[in-house]
């Protein structure tokens, strides 16, 4: 018998769960868990990725599992969209599991076997989210994902800040889950049938489609880190162990993107143009906000968390543009933007996982997360440094790596927007394009800061000289992800061909057929209009570089010597005189001062021990979250008044309630 792709995906999920349970059987057997179970999980992820590639072009398959509640079986469905996100999960999961095999040490917080269980249950839950075909299973998988990741975030639960970060994450995840639940409630349109198949056939009228869309945007936005629900991301990512951060940032945020796409383009039958405008504006605001905050961070994992917020913003802006095009029946343009969205999701999964894993290696080698105490690690950790450089350049959106391709596609889409009939929307384009370009340019700033301060320069602390490079497992993982960044960047046409079935499914057009793309040249509309070929570009640059090197070495005597740095002849330099993370972020802090809630402590000339301190905090925390928290406290105190703790009082309450009900219902 030849198993279908859907059966293989289910088999992979079961395999992950089995691996997880095996970890629970011998929770303290360190070697068994790290050398056997995690590599096995990695192999399963790789198999899943292969199956997903096969399933991308295949017709949708569905099946019903006799699990769950009586009369409420689990519906499963594997179509192109699910397959793409499974591919994303599998391809990055392969590397992250491999990395975990080398990363987890026996002494940290939760027992390794328990981590192994939580980790693999997390993977399985994410895979289940992608193939769920009814709201019931979707919510079960979604909540399992939130819970397992909560326990992973709080691996080092003995530290109070980590417990606090975990709580915040769980809280916002549940507020989001409520919105998603309400969204499904709206989508079933009174039929009482919560399968996605029924929802697809429902034609909601009036304000209901908009209600469903905005509930989805809110609910999935909470998971993705959309403004103003981003607040948990910069807390949870630094708290979690690095492979978990990588998995959360690289893959889990994309489950929210998956959900948003599923609801907007698959379950809802029509899209309204102004949803697109709202999503576009929200996405761009998120992108700018994220990157501005990333530029002033001094904790390397917080910096990456804010950078994730930026990338999610770009993706959501792309979704907004897709909705806009789709609602005006520009299906070709919608296909191009949707391609950009999916491409960027995949790219972000690769480069952000790579960068998070690299910070994990740095963390293990130096026990330091603060950028201001690192530096010069390229000499001690060349593998991590050079592979992280690939990730940083990709994240900065530089050609010929992968981050650039999706940004190129998205910018092309912006340039096509003036063909829309509504002049108001057309006016929006320059502003939106400007915001996007600004965010992308700032991300280069952020990445130079990230890479330069950690890996370049001289070590800012003496103990950095003992930093050790990553181990074999970690190197394999980093190489896999870096290779992904390069290949995704160099062969855009092949990747887009893979993605094209999704375009056909969701917006009913192909992003490739209209243009004159060949395997080497990406030209979405026509070669006269716009074309890009990273491979040729790379070959030309490399050819020029090699030629220059050859010429210089032929005609130049080649004498060079090493000497102390010159630095304008300044003699008394110390490594502390290099820019710190705060110093490097200072210009951004000054220019965008209104964005931050700043507290400065400046030393006076008479201080015996001068102390300089500046913190840049998030306004949302003070303007939105603390008022809500205070309001909740006030309410709780009011409610507290009626809690007397005497049974006779409670009986009186019941009596009056009964009276009131009798009066009302009669």
């Amino acid at each position: 018998m030849n198993p279908s792709p859907l059966e293989l995906v289910i088999a992979a999920i079961v395999a992950w769960l089995v691996i997880g349970v095996l970890g629970l059987v011998r929770p303290r057997h360190f070697v068994f868990i790290t050398r056997v179970l995690f590599p096995a999980g990695s192999a399963v992820a790789l198999a899943l990725a292969v199956v997903a590639v096969m399933a991308l072009a295949a017709p949708p398959q569905s099946t019903i599992l006799p699990l769950g509640l009586p009369d409420l079986p689990f519906h499963l469905r594997l179509d192109s969209l699910s397959a793409f996100f499974l591919l994303l999960l599998g391809a990055t999961g392969t590397a992250i599991s491999m990395y975990s095999a080398g990363y987890f040490r026996s002494s940290e917080g939760t027992a390794p076997g328990v981590i192994c269980f939580q980790y693999h249950a997390f993977l399985a839950a994410m895979a289940l989210v992608m193939i769920a075909d009814d709201a019931y299973l979707f919510m079960v998988a979604w909540e399992s994902m939130a819970l397992t990741s909560f326990f992973l975030v709080t691996t080092e639960h003995r530290i109070p800040e980590i417990r606090r970060a975990g709580f915040l994450y769980l809280l916002i995840a549940h507020i989001g889950a409520i919105a998603i639940l309400l969204c499904f409630g709206t989508l079933q349109g009174g039929s009482g049938d919560y399968t996605f198949a029924t929802m697809r056939t429902m034609h909601l009228t009036g304000a209901w489609p908009s209600a469903a869309f905005f509930l989805a945007l809110f609910g999935f936005g909470a998971k993705a880190g959309l403004l103003p629900l981003h607040i948990w991301l910069p807390e949870a990512h630094p708290a979690a162990p690095s492979p978990v951060s990588a998995l959360m940032s690289g893959v889990m945020l994309k489950t929210a993107i998956y959900g948003l796409l599923r609801v907007t383009f698959d379950l809802l039958t029509g899209q309204l143009w102004w949803w697109g405008v709202v999503a576009l504006a929200l996405g761009l605001a998120t992108a700018l906000f994220g990157v501005i905050f990333a530029a002033v961070q001094s904790d390397m994992k917080r910096l990456l968390a804010y950078s994730s917020i930026e990338n999610i913003g770009i993706i959501v802006a792309g979704i907004g543009l897709t909705i806009l095009f789709k609602s005006y029946d520009k299906s070709l343009l919608a296909a191009i933007t949707l391609t950009a969205v999916l491409y960027h999701a995949l790219n972000h999964a690769f480069f952000k996982s790579l960068l998070f894993l690299a910070t994990g290696s740095v963390l293990h080698a130096t026990h330091e997360r603060s950028l201001g105490k690192l530096g010069g690690l390229i000499h001690h950790m060349p593998w991590v440094a050079w592979l992280a450089l690939v990730g940083a350049l990709a994240c900065a959106g530089l050609p010929p790596l992968n981050g650039f391709v999706s940004e190129w596609l998205l910018l092309q889409a912006f340039l096509f927007t003036p063909s829309l009939p509504q002049s108001f929307v057309n006016m929006l384009v320059p502003v939106a394009a400007a915001a996007l370009v600004l965010a992308v340019a700032l991300s280069a700033y952020v990445m130079v800061k990230f890479f330069g301060v950690i890996f370049l320069g001289r070590p800012r602390e003496a103990n950095l000289a003992y930093a050790k490079d990553a181990g074999t497992f970690e190197r394999i993982a980093l190489v896999w992800l870096a290779a992904g960044c390069v290949l995704l960047g160099l062969f855009p046409v092949n990747v887009i061909t893979l993605l094209d079935p999704i375009n056909a499914m969701l917006v009913g057009a192909s992003a490739l057929n209209a243009g004159s793309s060949s395997w080497i040249l990406l030209a979405p509309i026509s070669a006269d209009r716009a074309s890009y070929s990273p491979l040729i570009m790379l070959v030309v640059i490399l050819a020029i570089v090699l030629l220059t090197v050859q010429v210089v070495h032929r005609y130049y005597h080649g004498r060079s010597r090493r000497a102390p740095p010159w630095d304008c002849g300044f003699p008394a330099q110390t490594p502390r005189m290099q820019d710190t993370a705060e110093g490097f972020g200072m210009p951004i802090r000054t220019v965008f001062e209104p964005f931050f809630r700043m507290k400065r402590h400046l030393p006076s000339p008479f201080d015996a021990t001068p102390r300089y301190e500046v913190t840049a905090e998030d306004h949302f925390w003070y303007w939105l979250y603390l008022p809500i928290a205070r309001g909740a406290e006030v309410l709780a105190r009011l409610v507290g008044h009626i809690q007397q703790g005497r049974i006779s009082v409670y009986l009186t309450y019941s009596f009056f309630t009964l009276l009131a009900l009798l009066f009302l219902v009669r």
């Binding site: 530089l398 650039f404 006016m427 280069a444 300044f570 005189m577 820019d579």
Partner: protein, 316 residues
């Protein structure tokens, strides 16, 4: 992909490599004239580069490979850009591989590597220069892209040769959007090429330098390559400006390749005029404090966005 295409491609790259230092020499000469100094020879940049190539390289003790690789990467990126920008002809086979967005990406690649190399040694000046360069870049890069987008919207293409083809064939009329874009482009070019009022190419005063601060630790062949790359960058920016706003004389596609013989003198004439204008701007303006730069570049950015808006409103 034709033979004449390859011919014009290589000719253009060669001319860029040869003319770029000459352009810098010309600008320096004009600057000297305008400030009543004795002018250095127009060939002085060549002599500097030649001299540097035959010196012993001194590399800081803790420099990593990034430091040694950067001059080659920056030089390669600038050559690559010179191959895309139509300075003589628009029949450029390589320009298919990279449109205007990729061109801005190439400049960004060079900038990021320059900044990383400057941080590599771990001196105070190096990281100061890197920080300032990225600071100027994050505003200049979007502004440049917006200028190019305005041109793309008018011509319906993001490929530079196609844009020039369209512009060269249109009737001689003033496009209001291009006027805005032109002002924005001049401002961006000043900032990107480390010119007064944003930076000063001749300074070594720590409070003012940006580009020079990043080059401090370089010597000999590496420095020569970087100087040459900086000259190429100025040449590229000049050619982008000329192609967008004065496309006359560029051999558009479909004409005989012998017309290249006429294009070269036209290019040189335009560059001489442009170089003089640059020297004039530099002489007439004063260096700004670094924190005034965001205002300057923010103005450029806003002008470029306005150009796009005007283009959409008026359709011109």
């Amino acid at each position: 992909m034709t033979l004449s295409g390859f011919f014009s491609q290589f000719l253009q790259l060669a001319i860029a490599l040869v003319l770029a230092p000459l352009l810098v020499g010309w600008v320096n000469k004009c600057r000297a004239w305008l400030s009543n100094r004795t002018a250095p020879s127009i060939l002085q940049p060549y002599r500097t580069i030649r001299k540097l190539f035959f010196k012993d390289a001194v590399i800081a003790e803790n420099a990593s490979s990034i430091f040694r690789l950067t001059p080659y990467i920056v030089f390669g990126a600038m050559c690559c850009a010179a191959a895309i920008v139509p300075s003589l002809a628009t029949d450029l086979p390589f320009a298919r591989a990279a449109d205007t967005i990729a061109l801005v990406g190439l400049f960004a690649l060079a900038r990021v590597f320059m900044s990383l190399a400057a941080m590599d040694i771990g001196t105070s000046f190096g990281s100061l220069g890197a920080r300032r360069e990225m600071f100027v870049g994050f505003l200049a890069e979007p502004a440049l892209l917006m200028v190019l987008f305005t041109a793309s919207l008018i011509s319906g293409s993001t490929s530079l040769p196609s844009i020039v083809d369209t512009f060269a064939h249109r009737e001689l009329a003033i496009y209001p959007s291009l006027a805005f874009a032109g002002v924005a482009f001049v401002m961006v070019s000043l900032a990107e090429n480390a010119r007064i009022p944003v930076d000063n190419p001749t300074t070594h005063l720590e409070l003012t330098m940006i580009h020079e601060a990043m080059l401090l630790e370089y010597s000999a062949r590496h420095l020569a390559l970087l100087e040459w790359a900086a000259a190429l960058k100025l040449f590229n920016y000049s050619c982008i400006g000329l192609a967008l706003f004065f496309p006359f004389g560029i051999v558009v596609s479909g004409t005989d390749w012998l017309a290249l013989l006429g294009a070269a003198p036209a290019l040189i004439a335009k560059l001489l005029a442009g170089g003089f204008a640059l020297a004039l701007i530099e002489t007439l303006s004063a260096k700004m404090r670094i924190f005034r730069a965001p205002e300057f570049l923010g103005t450029a950015f806003m002008l470029a966005v306005l150009a796009m808006l005007v283009n959409l409103l008026l359709g011109a």
